[in-house]
Symmetry: C2
Subunit: 247 residues, 2 copies
């Protein structure tokens, strides 16, 4: 059971500003809740239906609040169209993420990625290939945006996402910077890329900004074999380039 | 100017059923409108703001209706949150698509893809690599769904999408069938794949169905280098596999 006052208090976390102020983020649905638990994240509050509680009875919160809610109450908390069983408030704990970042491996750099679905998919793809460190321009969508969190499919708990002055960061990182560009070199076995370096992906419409492009040491191109399409989706392009860089 | 009666008549095409009955689809925004015009598609109706008409003054409709509309009227027609300048009703003309399909090249097969954004991105990725023929299970989202159309970024005009009994089609296609599977062989230079064949991508949650999997001759795997993520996004996985098959 949850009181009306408590429900109202928690519903306020639908506002991103409120989450930012307290350095928490919202996690929803059984899949993401299981990822949060498995990651050892610090879970502040759980609101769940009886269905979820029965299926997850073996799990006891070490700390934090727990409330059983009805479907209607869950809808009040959730920003989703069809909220699914469980809603959690999780601490951001960026420092833990920093400890997980590995030096000398591929870093993914994002220049003004706008779409939350793309951002989450980029994090998910990086996670798949073991790329744990993601550096973003300040105008890239926030990684704790609820739509981003859901699209990561758990990668939010395993990647370290930093927001920086990107052109400056790239210029001083001391690593080769591979930038996806229409004027780059096609990826081929004979210009094999290195594992150590930065892969830079640009905005969905405008690509890499001129300021960030100035720091690119290796412009790379995915061959446009069809010859008719203007571009690839940013997460698909990143997936192909990470695959090529890591293989 | 558009009459209230005409506006009401056209607003009915927000219903997918109405579009299906008349074999038309809705195209929105200047980018997609330009693609429709460039493709030579048969455009039945155009509703556009003065802004779009002024910027596209050189273009005259060979046939079809043309209406100038206000932003409010455009919002009435559109299924989008922020409709942008132009709304079009375009004939499906599947036969033209069929003529564009090329025998003997890579075919993309989709088994129960549900998300319209994924579907559109899959079509866009195929288009980039020159894969023009896409074969879908009947339970895959319709390629003329407005969200799919927008996510294709124009590929809707350049790809031939068929809906079939997929397990039967795969079993009788006479080509090698590469299926993305967790039990496949990693893609490597030494097990180089062929250009001619079918690449099969499964449902976002459940992967390839057992019925379709029975027709897979070459199960393939994208190495999970991170070791923590459960899966890749369906369009990202397809992008990497098409890239590998076509290179």
């Amino acid at each position: 059971m949850i009181s009306k006052i408590k429900l109202k208090e928690l519903a306020a976390y639908r506002l991103q500003k409120r989450c930012d102020e307290e350095a928490v983020f919202v996690v929803e649905g059984p899949k993401m809740a299981a990822e949060a638990i498995a990651s050892g994240a610090s879970i502040r509050t759980v609101c769940a239906t009886r269905e979820w509680m029965l299926a997850n009875g073996e799990w006891r919160m070490a700390s934090g609040e727990f409330y059983e809610v009805s479907q209607t109450e869950l809808e009040r908390l959730s920003g989703q169209k069809n909220p699914n069983q469980v809603w959690m408030l999780v601490e951001r704990r960026m420092e833990n993420g920093k400890q997980r970042a590995e030096d000398g491996k591929l870093v993914l750099a994002l220049d003004h990625i706008q779409d939350p679905g793309n951002m989450g998919t980029l994090m998910r793809t990086a996670d798949w290939f073991g790329v744990r460190h993601i550096v973003c321009s300040h105008d890239t969508v926030g990684c704790f945006n609820p739509k981003v969190v859901q699209a990561t499919m758990g990668a939010i708990f395993r990647t370290w996402v930093e927001y920086v002055d990107l052109p400056q960061w790239l210029a001083s990182c001391g690593m080769p910077v591979y930038g996806a560009s229409l004027h780059g070199e096609p990826l081929k076995a004979d210009n094999k890329l290195h594992r150590q370096g930065v892969l830079l992906i640009g905005n969905e419409s405008r690509g890499i900004s001129p300021e960030a492009m100035a720091a690119v040491t290796h412009p790379v191109l995915i061959p446009n074999l069809g010859g008719t399409a203007e571009s690839l989706n940013a997460s698909v392009a990143a997936g192909i380039l990470i695959y090529e860089l890591m293989r």
